[in-house]
Each structure stands twice: as C-alpha cells, then as structure tokens.
Symmetry: C2
Subunit: 234 residues, 2 copies
DNA sequence: CGTTCCGTTGAATGGGATCAACGATTGTGG
DNA sequence: CCACAATCGTTGATCCCATTCAACGGAACG
C-alpha cells in the first residue's frame, strides 16, 4: 500500500504554498526534521480512515487525493480533492478524530507531520505559527467557496474554475487539467448526478468553452467559464 | 450605530467556548486587556464592510449577527449566522480583507480583538495559540456541515438541527429557538426560495415535528428532525 | 394612514434526478 | 492471451421536486 520515500522541504517546489511558507532557512531544517514519513500511495489506497484518532497533519507532495465522508445512512460523499501543497487534517484539530477518509486518486506522495510536535515547534517559531493560522484560514475559504452556485451549470463551472485556479497557484497550467477523479467523484463532491455532469460537459464543449477527452481537459475560454459560474458578469 | 459597553472575559458566561477557553486565570487578564472595544449594535447595523482590510477578530457577546456576501453580479448571499461565543473573521486571516459584511440581526454586543496583538500574545501563551487553532479548525467543520443535504427538506432540517445544537452548546434551550433572522435570510443561507421554507415548515408542523409562531420555534420531536436531515436512520 | 417588508398560499413551469440501456475501458483469473 | 466481469462514461425518456410568478393578509414603521 505504501513505501518510504525521501523528503526535503528545502528543495520542494511546493514550499511557497505549503507549511514552510515564510519560515527562515535555518528554521526550515527543524521543520524538515519533523517530517516523520513520506510515503508513496497508489490509486484507491486508503491513507486515513474516517473516525480514527487525529495525530498528524499531512501535506500532498505529488499526485492527488480525495476526502470521503460516510454518514450514518451509509451514503458516501466526496468532501474534497487535495492537490500538491495542500495540507490535510486541519479540520480534525477540533474534532480530535478525522472527519473523513483519505484515498489516493493516482500514484501520489504524502508528507506526514505529528501535530503535537508541530505545535511545540511553532511555539518557538512565530513564522510557522503564522503559516498554520493562514492555512487554516485558507481552508475556511475553500469550504465556503461553493456556496454561491445555484444551478448545475454554475456548480460544475465553479468546480472546474476552482481546479484551474489551484493548478495555476502551484505553477501548473491553468488551462490544461488532468481530472484524476471519476465523474462520479465530481458529481458526489458538487452534489449532482453523474449523468448531469456528462450532459453539461457536453454543453460546455459545444459552446467551445472547453474540450475534454477522457480525463484530459483543455479550457478554451476561461472568461466564459467564469461567467458560467454565476460569479462574474460578461 | 454603536455605543461602548463594559467587558470582562472572567465573568463572561461564554468563556467555555470563546477565545479564553483553556487560558489560565492570570493569563486571562492579559487577554482581557487586549479587548479594545465592546460595542452594542442594533438591528440592521452593518458592523463590518465586505472587502475592508482585516485587522480584528470579533467575538459575539450577545444577540445574533449574519454574514452577507455580495458577488460581482450584485447578488446577496447569507454565508452564516453568528451566535454568542462565535469568533468572526478567521477566514480573513488568509485573504487579508473581510470576505463578507457583518450585520446585526437584533440588539447585539461584540468584543473586538486586534489580530496582530492577539498573535503577539499567543506567542507567549501556548493555551491561547491552541485555542486559536481549535476555533479555526471548528470553523472548517462548520463550513463543511451543510454539504450532506440534497433535498429542501434535508437542508432546512439540517439548518434547524444545527441551530438547536449550537444553542445547546451555549447552555441555551435546544428545543426552544428564537429565529432572529427572516425567512429570506434562512432561504439565502441554505440556498432555496423563501416560499419553500414556508411550505416545508408547514409540513414539519403538520407532522408534529415542531411548532412555529412567527419567529418562535418549539421542536417537539428532535429525533424525527434528525432523520429529516438525512444524516441518521430511524 | 399609507408604505414597505414579511410571511404564506396557489398555480404553472422547468431543471435536474431517476430509470434504463449501451459502448468503452479496465481489470481479473483461468 | 483471452473471456468475462465490473466499472466508467454517455445518451435517451420520464417524472417529480423546487423555483417562479402572482396574489394577499398582516405587521412594522415613518
């Protein structure tokens, strides 16, 4: 299911958005020393089990993961997708148990930080403390992001736009996206039927807003995609 | 619009859920000294203007507030309601500007904390730092709470159940609720038409799940209300 | 006393879910 | 290596839930 791998925050391309952001060079070594494990996972590997006790925060080093929440009725819901640089587990600080399971969507690598040690270190490193609060704050914004969408078109456009923006934030292409997740995962995440995803993607294609081939998407008209989200005017 | 009022965390009934949680007695005085202002607001007062620069966190001392977000198309959306003890502004730490406006729903009181000073203080007070992270983490959970609901019935039941739980958390009644907000505000918050709110409340009443008179609600059958949320089985 | 907003009710419409079927892809085991 | 199963993605037809439009009584307010 997983195998060890080398880690080194100093040379990691994601340090600009990940935990080390704002942390000084010398201090970085102390943060690095705290990374207990860096593990490789493969598609469908379950990394975190929902309800298990909270001990670690995780940072995505490469690949993609999804968070899946199971309710008392046995219904599954994808609560989020995690890209490289994302911090996972911030919501569990309060609840003390992980609120969802974490599953790899493709071959992916995860860095692991023990939270108690992180807290001890951040007490001595104001920059780390500040970054922890910033990331936690960012997570609140992410969670609130999808509240605007009313129609299925707006929901899906918002999802794609968001994925595009997050890609850009990481220095990846904002127009060339690889959807590592299935249509069902997308549907579950934004709260609609997979059939509707299909139909609206088709609609976007016939309007020349994007081209999609299997799980490779090319955004042709970012401006009209943004308008489709219902968040901006023409 | 607002007038000064006395503040004193030590004797505040909300210290068990508010910022002071976990903070020692002597340390509490230093936190108290940091409260710059405690102001009284009245219905419809705008306390925070969306997009204004982030400087302070706020804690609700009494009453109720709503957060309202305006998008580029001029559409308004209620993104949250704030009860006594709630911390407001945690999402703005990342964005550096407030992402929504804050409006009083009734005569209410707010405590104001300068964030920079709070950070300086928390560097010396691990308990305060821990509470800031806990509260931020809690906010992530709140934002994710409504993702489960599919139907209008589930959304509204979830909203009422949530309000009831938050009331209980504060030592108030979990069955006797005062809805300080309008039906339109509720509708905007959970993403449905105010007419539908009316119809489903009527349905809940004829099923003897609750009784509602103007803005006073009495929950008769919390168990069946929970089932209506679609989060639990019978 | 008129005006405005709030809350409710009725009737009609439509958007998205649901059900069903099918080809394509992936994965499995003999 | 291939037959088979299972999942994925798409398309079509139907239905139902929630929005929309419209109207009205009541309360709050100036």
């Amino acid at each position: 299911m997983s195998s060890p791998a080398k880690h080194n925050c100093s040379v990691c391309s994601l340090k600009k958005i990940c935990l080390p952001t704002g942390v000084g060079k010398d201090e970085l070594e102390r943060l690095e020393a705290l990374v207990q494990d860096t593990k490789v996972h493969h598609t469908s590997d379950e990394v975190i089990r929902q309800e298990s006790p909270f001990r670690n925060l995780y940072a995505v080093k490469s690949g993609m993961y999804k968070s899946v929440k199971l309710n008392d009725l046995g219904e599954e819901r994808v609560v989020g997708f995690h890209l490289p640089g994302d911090i996972i587990g911030l919501d569990a600080i309060y609840t003390k148990t992980y609120s969802s399971s974490l599953v790899a969507l493709t071959t992916s690598v995860l860095c692991q930080f023990n939270y108690d040690q992180l807290v001890l270190l951040s007490a001595k490193m104001p920059t780390l403390q500040a970054q922890l609060m910033r990331l936690s704050s960012k997570e609140i914004n992410i969670a609130n992001a999808f509240q605007n969408a009313q129609t299925a078109e707006q929901k899906l456009a918002g999802f794609i736009h968001n994925l595009s923006a997050r890609n850009a934030e990481r220095g990846f292409s904002s127009t060339q996206l690889i959807l590592s997740m299935s249509r069902q995962d997308i549907a579950s995440h934004i709260g609609m039927a997979p059939e509707t995803i299909s139909r609206i993607l088709k609609q976007f294609q016939s309007n020349d807003i994007l081209i999609i081939n299997k799980r490779e998407m090319k955004i042709l008209d970012p401006a009209r995609l943004l308008i489709s989200t219902g968040c901006a005017h023409a």
